[in-house]
């Protein structure tokens, strides 16, 4: 699986285009986007999905 770097998601603006559903490019951004309604600490499901999608937590591509 291709590793990708996470970036902080842009704030959601109504009518704006959400991140692509493409898996290889921007996988971390997409996971961040999917969890935009979760408040508080990072949810364990999000941590698992990031690892599953091959996104390293230290911000460097693996």
């Amino acid at each position: 699986m291709e590793a990708v770097v996470r970036t902080k998601p842009e704030p959601r603006v109504p009518g704006s285009t959400p991140p692509s559903t493409e898996r290889k490019a921007g996988a971390g951004e997409r996971v961040d986007w999917l969890f935009r309604r979760q408040a508080g600490a990072e949810h364990p499901l999000k941590a698992a999905l990031l690892e599953y999608r091959g996104v390293r937590r230290d911000g460097h591509a693996g």
Binding site: R12, P14, G15, T17, P18, P19, S20, T21, R30, V31, W33, L34, F35, R36, R37, Q38, A39, H43, P44, L45, K46, A47, A48, L49, E51, Y52
Partner: protein, 284 residues
Amino acid sequence: MGTPADRASELASLTRQIAELPPLPRAMAEAVRLMADDDLSPRACIEAITYDQALAVRILRLANSAFYGAPGHVGTVSDAVRLLGLRTVTGVLSVVAMQTVLKGWHCEAFDFENYWRHSVGVAVAAKELALRGGVDGELAFVAGLMHDVGQVAMALCQPELAQETWQRARSSDQPALEVERALWSSGHDVLGSDIARHWRFPLDIVEAIACHHLPHRAPRGPAALGQIVHVADAIAHGLDLNGDKCEAVPNVDSAAWVQWAPEHDDMLLLLAKVESHAKVLAEA
């Protein structure tokens, strides 16, 4: 948005429309009877499947897929019951029968393919979570498959209002359920449980559909299908199975998560299993 009286009238109309929905195919109705009562003979269900050739062909094709682990070995419906077990055949039948019934309700307001990919993912995840927790996996599978059936009914019964509801949810990035409750005085969870009750699904499944967004209202204990479907729903949304750009993971109830979700390493295996199996089932 109409007045409260308008909305109450629309809701009453929707309830009447649900009561007038066509019955399930006979084979599925027999399977539902079997789900509700383990002591019943499966003969009527097997006969009903066998007499419905189109249904039988699709069931055999799915039973022979990698998902069910017996590729090429299932030649007849009786083989399917013998090799896979009656409960598993009930799950196979549910996939085929519900896809046939719900696709027949097609309307422009509703993207059935997106809906189906997500529903199948929730079914697979719910079954896996249930089996790990010692709960009936096939019952959880069917509950997962049916959990959002209320959305299909909304699109069928009030297509314009359904379209407005989901467009508003997308443009404001609100959970669809919140907009549904504002515009319909009800949500797809309640409407879906009404449909399951209308089709005489077991009470556990009816309650699971009603509680899948409010798992703290689900019955506790080993039959807590509502909690299982809630966690499975979050997993399927997280896997982004439906292909919707505006997809979001709903808020996850922490008590349900702690009770039913596996630890991190097992979760990675579960994610892989759900993603691959849901793809096979959705395309079957």
